[in-house]
């Protein structure tokens, strides 16, 4: 079975998102056919029992670190693979993956695009650009000046965040019966076929009583339907456009009513539960966030009509003005700055001025990055300055904790790595020639070990696995 496999595609061209790119590999298609290529672990196997491949290398299982422990006991990060696989819920994983930053793997946080068009979280790409001035995905040269906010993606992410739980729930509700079948491999085809029937019929989008039939149909078509719906420019167009090449009966009425519902939902006036004023549905959250004091409270009926007709000029101008309220911070060239000036710059933003020169520089650098990345978000999604300050603090604590970890418990560390030290000492001996080593011959003192450790390594040394 394994011999059929060809060697993987040539390596140097391996680029792109780590979620999407892998789909091209053969193993994935084999997986979905239910093949047994996967040496790895199914969802049921706990992460620590690593099966397969271990035959030639034995190791003593160590206790997971605190971080790993939190990872193992729930608090799992959300992922595209939360959704059922392609065979059961077409497009859902892809949709979730498409809205994720390929650097951090999270749903986009303040999405921005570079000049090549690739999209990342503002903070991620700024960090990446500070180490290397190119697009992480396509390696086209780029720098911070090329960063452009991507509000459409931001909106999409926001909507998806709201919908995600719901859709996840629906898809999970649907799968238990079919999941077992899928596991055994074969009957997925039958499943697909029944799906297809639903897919072509027009009944699927009508919300009905939650009978099992309508429930099973409710997940799959969601994505394609939406996509379809977004395309037409006006209602008139929809009526004329035949729905889909594949569908036997064009059913414009369903589509149309659906469309109508949507537009009315977006522009509907709803009563604010606090001030009881009528507010446009899409603005209600902002309205309530602003303590019921709308900036465009006093707008004329004309502008209200303009809003209804989709002419958001007034709104756009307003957001642009808000954007300009906050200027992006310039990057500093730290080499040219004296300590005092640097401290003043930190004080200016109420940041701490403790620590050595390096710490100050890093703190300021990170602050500028966080601050500017925050401005790439749309006004409603921005964090407040105090929130940013606590983010910076968290980041510094995180770094501090890691560093400290390396020197912390010297004694246990020494005990654990005793053989490693001995081996290193053995190795070093011939090199030192005749001069050495009365001190080295003795059992190493804790102090000396610590110095070896500190000087030789940035992370935790891991030689004695």
């Amino acid at each position: 079975m394994l011999l059929r496999q060809q060697p993987p595609p040539h390596a140097i061209f391996w680029r792109g998102s780590f979620f999407r790119e892998k789909r091209n590999l053969q193993f994935r298609s084999l997986l979905e056919e239910g093949g047994d290529v996967v040496s790895g672990c199914g969802e049921t196997i706990p992460p620590l029992e690593l099966p397969g491949g271990g035959s030639h290398y034995h190791h003593q299982p160590t206790l997971p670190t605190a971080e790993m422990a939190t990872f193992l006991t729930g608090d799992m990060p959300d992922d595209p693979i939360d959704f059922p696989p392609q065979s059961q819920a077409p497009g859902l994983r892809d949709l979730d993956a498409a809205l994720r930053c390929s650097i951090c793997g999270e749903l986009f946080d303040g999405p921005v695009s570079l000049s090549c068009g690739h999209c990342f979280c503002s903070c991620c790409v700024r960090t990446s650009l500070s180490t290397k001035q190119e697009c992480p995905t396509c390696r086209k040269p780029g720098n911070e000046d090329h960063i452009r906010p991507n509000p459409s993606v931001e909106e999409a992410v926001l909507a998806w965040k709201r919908a995600r739980q719901h859709i996840l729930h629906l898809s999970k509700q649907d799968t238990p019966a079919s999941a077992d079948q899928a596991e055994s491999g074969r009957p997925t085809k039958r499943l697909k076929r029944t799906r297809k029937v639903d897919y072509d019929s027009d009944l699927e989008c009508i919300p009905g009583p939650s009978s099992s039939a309508s429930r099973s149909a409710s997940i799959t078509p969601l994505t394609p339907k939406r996509h379809e719906r977004r395309k037409p420019v006006s209602k008139a167009l929809i009526v004329r456009t035949p729905k889909k090449a594949g569908s036997p009966i064009p059913s414009s009425d369903v589509e149309e009513s659906d469309e109508g519902k949507m537009t009315s939902r977006e522009t509907d006036l709803v009563q604010c539960p606090i001030c009881e004023k009528k507010v446009i549905m899409t603005n209600i959250n902002r309205h309530m966030d602003n303590n019921c004091q709308d900036a465009n409270d006093t707008r004329s009926t004309k502008s209200q009509w303009a809003q209804l007709m989709g002419n958001n000029k007034a709104k756009k101008n307003q957001t642009r003005r808000e954007d300009n309220d906050l200027e992006r911070l310039p990057k500093a060239s730290y080499d040219a700055l004296k300590d005092r000036v640097l401290k003043d710059m930190l004080k200016e933003h109420d940041l701490s001025v403790t620590g050595d020169r390096n710490a100050l520089e890093r703190r300021h650098q990170r602050w500028v990055m966080l601050y500017n990345a925050n401005l790439d978000k749309s006004h409603v999604n921005r964090k407040t300055i105090p929130e940013l300050r606590s983010d910076l603090k968290l980041w510094e604590e995180e770094r501090g904790r890691r560093k400290k970890h390396a020197v912390q418990d010297i004694e246990t560390y020494e005990r654990q790595h005793k053989y490693e030290f001995q081996r290193l000492i053995e190795q070093a001996r011939p090199k030192q020639g005749t001069k050495p080593s009365s001190a080295r011959d003795d059992t190493p003192e804790p102090g000396s070990d610590a110095t070896i450790h500190e000087s030789s390594d940035v992370e935790r040394p891991t030689m004695s696995l």
């Binding site: 394994l2 060697p7 140097i12 680029r15 780590f18 790895g40 690593l50 180490t131 290397k132």
Partner: protein
């Protein structure tokens, strides 16, 4: 709040555990977010047929912005050696651009495994790098501290 590197590694690990590794790659050990071990084996016809290598990944807190330290595991006393390859030193260090200057944060652990697998698969002649002895004598423990000069772009 878990750090970005831990979150990202947790995602990768979760994906490996639910989706499995590519053919010929197996996760041996991932007890923490500092060190992971993989076994890699070249599938099909190649000079390394039947050989299983152990690949060690070490991550620092800047992952994925900074590359992981990747090397073949070498334990002479347990019979674990680095594969003989023009870009692999006998201490396990690998001279590959994507582990150094060409690293990109969108790459992942699995991507690196597949790259190295294909590096082995495309090997024409089993030999050590020309400067192997000189390098190994003075090599730093962490391969990331070596400045490699990448001259061969055919592999």
């Amino acid at each position: 709040m878990a750090s970005i590197s831990a979150k990202r590694l947790a995602k990768e690990l979760k994906e490996i555990q639910t989706e499995g590794c590519p053919v010929g790659v197996n996760l041996l050990r991932a007890d923490d977010f500092q060190t992971w071990l993989f076994s890699i084996e070249v599938m099909g016809e190649s000079l390394y047929k039947g050989e299983v290598q152990t690949l060690q990944f070490r991550f620092d807190s800047n992952y994925p912005i900074s590359s992981p330290a990747v090397q073949f595991l070498v334990r002479e006393n347990e019979g674990i050696r680095a594969p003989i390859h023009p870009h692999v030193y006998s201490n396990g260090h690998i001279c590959a651009s994507i582990l150094g200057t060409e690293w990109s944060p969108v790459l992942s652990v699995v991507a690196v495994c597949v790259t190295l697998q294909s590096m082995l698969a495309s090997c024409k002649k089993k030999e050590r790098p020309v400067d192997n002895d000189r390098y190994v004598l003075h090599a730093p423990e962490n391969p990331k501290k070596t400045q490699f000069h990448y001259d061969d772009d055919t592999v």
